[in-house]
Amino acid sequence: MYLKLFVLSASSVVLWLAPLVVLEKTLDIHKALQGVSLTAAIACAVSAGNIARELSEQEEIEEIKTRAITADVVDEIATSAYISQQQRQHEAEQILNPREHLERSLALTYGEDEESEPIAQKQLAEPVAEPDQNAESERAERALQLKAKGWGKAKIILEIWGVTKGGSPKYKAAEAEYKRLCDSLKRESRQLVRT
């Protein structure tokens, strides 16, 4: 393709200049040859221009593809780095907070005596609902703050629920919860506006 392009470009210049310089303008046959040569030169130049334009468009497309792939890879690396940082932070918090470990182990002990002490289990289950609600309200507040900062949905879900974007059931559940929180916040704000 490149060879064809260069041959056509060179031949167009040669067919343009050579007959005008070499041939005599007063002779009819020479004049006719000049006309034919100029016509051929125009055809060659236009063909070469078309080929060059196609090649340039292909190059542009390839460049866009390369840029998109690079951006994707960079994004992937940044996300994985962010996730690993979050995991490390979580692990560090777990290590530094032994109270949580103690509470978990206590909950496990109560779980083992499920059949023998159903009343105690019920008593334990009741206060669990409140922390859930608290956690949900905290999540909602945090989501609202991040949304106000201009964060995207996927990033907010990753930040709050720790789930990366994809078709996993965890992500879907987190997305559904996020939507529910957003809807409830919208409803609350509408009610506030009305009042």
Binding site: L5, L8, S9, S12, V13, W16, L17, L20, V21, K25, K31, Q34, G35, L38, T39, A41, I42, A45, V46, A48, G49, N50, I51, A52, R53, L55, S56, E59
Partner: protein, 87 residues
């Protein structure tokens, strides 16, 4: 490659101008016809410079691109006719 295709179209324009000169040299009537064509091109070129902003909106290109196009077309015409007359 973009420069290559622009250069090729520029050369095509120059050759077309030379071809116009060649047509003008065939017969006095053809010479007059080519003169009329050149006069029309000159009027159109001048009007394009005067109406560059509205024309650029009409053609959906920037004013700088339109001005480059006009300068390029003038250069093509001058080079083509110059090559034909000087050889």
């Amino acid at each position: 490659m973009r420069a290559m295709y622009l250069a090729n179209y520029f050369i095509a324009g120059c050759i077309a101008s030379s071809f116009l000169g060649w047509v003008a040299s065939l017969h006095p009537h053809a010479f007059r016809a080519v003169l009329c064509l050149l006069a029309a091109i000159a009027i159109g070129w001048g009007l394009s410079w005067l109406l560059d902003f509205s024309l650029s909106k009409l053609l959906n290109i920037s004013v700088a691109d339109l001005q480059a196009l006009l300068i390029g077309s003038l250069a093509m015409l001058l080079i083509g006719l110059g090559v034909f007359l000087c050889t």
